[in-house]
Amino acid sequence: MSDETIMVKIRGLSKRFGRIQALDGVDLDIERGRIIGLLGANGAGKSTLLRHIIGLYLPDSGSCTTLGCDASRLGPAELARIGYVHQEGELIDWMTAAQLIRYVSVYYPNWNKELEQRLVGEYEISLKARVGSLSPGQRQRLAILIAICFEPELLILDEPAAALDPLARAQFLDLLLQLIQDQKRTIVISSHILSDVEKVIDHALIMKAGKIVADASFDELREKYSRVRLTSLAGPLPEPLDFANVLECRRNQSEATLIVRDLSPELIEAAAARIHCQAAVQPLPLEDIYRLVVA
């Protein structure tokens, strides 16, 4: 993999806050054009990792290179290519929404006015309202708007939809899907709403206690874990079931539902045939995959 295709390169990154080890030797490469879902429980280190990528935190040890530059030395040229939406939705409270948009747009020569106007309409942003008086959902929409209207190459979204209502979340997902059309754009999205994330991501990173426990394409994960529904064709199911790599099993006399790992559909078919069963293989939703990986 050439360095030009790698947007973010992290090696042995560790960060400690007092007694808490927030990041513990993280290694990661983020390739250009990827839509990455960063998943993990509260306190797993997702936000800390994202903040290292944009240089807001400095590592205790290890290195983080963003857009070919050490993250601690990111200058205006590199930062003008990065968009960031954070979970707190912190903006400049004393400005009106219109003033904030005007203020932020001055920083970026490639500000997309057309996209701005479209999003203001779609998100129903009240331009005359003071930012400090907006509801959390409206603030979050405004934060999203100012993070994407300059069309960044690397878009980092830290819990962007946490404060949004279902309708706004759907709009936001539509917007993300439109952004994905640009093949050069890289998006890293951290979220707890896995059902939303799985619609847009092509790569998943799962974190636990400051470490990355899974780093694979979403397709690989879906192939790795699958749900098998077995129906007996002759009499009761045997005890035990002759299946390898079973993670979970629920069964009765004639039917069983298994969650298996690293079994191809062919192997599952063969194993089912051996015990005179019919097998129906289904992919697992991201939520279940996440639960299995973290467990």
């Binding site: 807001l56 200058g75 205006p76 040229a77 954070h86 400049i92 400005m95 970026y108």
Partner: protein, 453 residues
């Protein structure tokens, strides 16, 4: 654990609670050199009134926090417990009055009282405790019962005026009257007020209303004047996209914006400050010292922010240095304006008003350059404004005592110049080192920064 102890234990985890005794002790120490209030003319009355209002607000905020804690509602016997907590807090408050008396004794440079004075002090201490409790409880009642800010402020003022009146016209007889009134008010307060649930409910309702009220106030305010915004945006656009000048103008706009938003109030504040300073004479130096330090805390440096804009760590450092210089110059201009207006106020005063113009000295004009870097350093270290207030008051007091003890006032002009230069260089060097550390090696995540940063 008893509910009483649980209440205190939970409350002590909130800094505003433990800050109260600290503020009280510092203010007591600050008041000590003032001496007997009955001897005060118009000169220091402004300072005492200012401190009285600060005391009232600081105290009732702390107690309000205790009274409005919702967990109390679910516990058996919470009303009695709350009454006990209030009672103990009022005792704590009264302690400050005793402290003031003791400090006054030392303020007169007499380490040992004559025997008869001890007896007098004991008698006075008892009445002081009761008077202190009464003051506290009346303020607390006002805080709990009244909703609108003007009512609360006028309530505080009536208490402060009452207290000052007692001080000015005090005699042994007045103390006896105060003791009786205090005792009665304590009893009435506990029997009639705190025992009623409606008081607690009222406190909780106010707590919730305060949050909503803030939002309503924000909506009601106007925006920065359009031509001011246009001016800044034009300056930003004329610089190149990645030029340092653009970042400077952007940061300046972001920093000055909140002040520009309430420029009318600021103008009013300057006029009020001129009146207080003119009325306070020499004591104005202390007020200016504290006011500058605290006001500087509210200057939001554009360093720590979760709003990602294309300004790297180095740019943030340079911006912050430039902003600090601009703010310092603005403060110098402000103190100069206050001194100028103070002279004007004296020239225009009616004959019966005891105004005295603030000293126009270069040390006064350049005072912000000495105070601001220390305040900036504390802000950079994440110090809260209440803590800063205590530090500034304590610092002002220590400097004042040192000034009198060492006799700095009598030193030659050259010595003054050397002292000023040393303090100036040390302050700014410390600020630059601290800023450099935060910008280049620290976390840039906003956690305890003023709104608008």
């Amino acid at each position: 654990m008893r509910i009483f102890l649980a209440n205190w234990r939970a409350s002590l985890t909130r800094e505003r609670i433990w800050l109260i005794p600290v503020i009280l002790c510092t203010l007591s120490a600050f008041l000590a050199p003032v001496g007997d209030i009955s001897l005060l003319g118009g000169v220091t009355l402004g300072v005492v009134l200012f401190i009285g209002v600060c005391l009232g607000i600081a105290l009732s905020r702390g107690q309000f926090a205790i009274a409005s804690r919702p967990f109390s509602f679910c516990l058996p016997g919470y009303r009695e417990s709350l009454a006990e907590v209030h009672f103990s807090a009022s005792l704590l408050f009264s302690g400050s009055f005793v402290l003031i008396e003791i400090m006054r004794a030392h303020g007169q440079w007499s380490l040992l009282y004559p025997d008869y004075s001890w007896c007098f002090l004991i008698c006075k201490t008892v009445s002081m405790i009761l008077m202190g409790m009464m003051t506290f409880l009346v303020m607390e009642a006002l805080r709990l019962a009244l909703f609108r800010l003007p009512d609360i402020v006028s309530g505080f003022w009536s208490v402060v005026v009452f207290y000052i009146g007692l001080g000015v016209f005090r005699s042994v007889q007045v103390h006896r009257v105060a003791a009786v009134v205090g005792l009665v008010s304590v009893l009435v307060f506990f029997r009639l007020c705190l025992a009623r649930m409606s008081w607690v409910k009222c406190a909780h309702r106010q707590l919730l209303a305060g949050t909503t009220g803030r939002r309503v106030r924000l909506e009601a305010k106007g925006s920065v004047l359009p031509h001011v915004e246009r001016l800044f945006l034009a300056q930003m656009r004329t610089s190149g996209p990645l030029a340092s000048a653009r970042y400077f103008w952007c940061s300046l706009y972001r920093t000055l914006g909140p002040a520009l938003l309430c420029w009318k109030w600021m103008l009013l504040g300057v006029v009020a400050f001129v009146l207080v300073c003119s009325y306070s004479g020499q004591e104005a130096r202390g007020v200016t010292f504290i006011a500058i330090g605290v006001m500087a805390w509210f200057v939001p440096f554009p360093i720590r922010s979760n709003l990602l804009l294309p300004a790297g760590r180095r740019e943030r450092y340079v911006e912050a240095v430039l902003i600090a210089v601009v703010i310092s110059l603005a403060f110098v201009a402000l103190t100069s304006a206050i001194m100028g207006l103070s002279l004007l106020a004296v020239a225009l005063r009616p004959g019966s008003f005891p105004f005295s113009a603030t000293d126009v000295r270069w040390s006064g004009v350049l005072l912000p350059c000495l105070v601001l870097p220390w305040s900036f350093v504390l802000q950079l270290q994440g110090c809260k404004w209440q803590v800063l207030l205590v530090i500034m008051i304590a610092g002002g007091y220590v400097l004042d005592v040192a000034y009198r003890l060492i006799g700095i006032g009598a030193w030659s002009a050259q010595a003054h110049m050397i002292l000023f230069s040393t303090a100036f260089i040390c302050g700014w060097a410390l600020f630059l080192l601290s800023l450099r550390h935060v910008c280049l090696r620290g976390s840039l995540i906003a956690s305890q920064v003023p709104s608008g940063a």
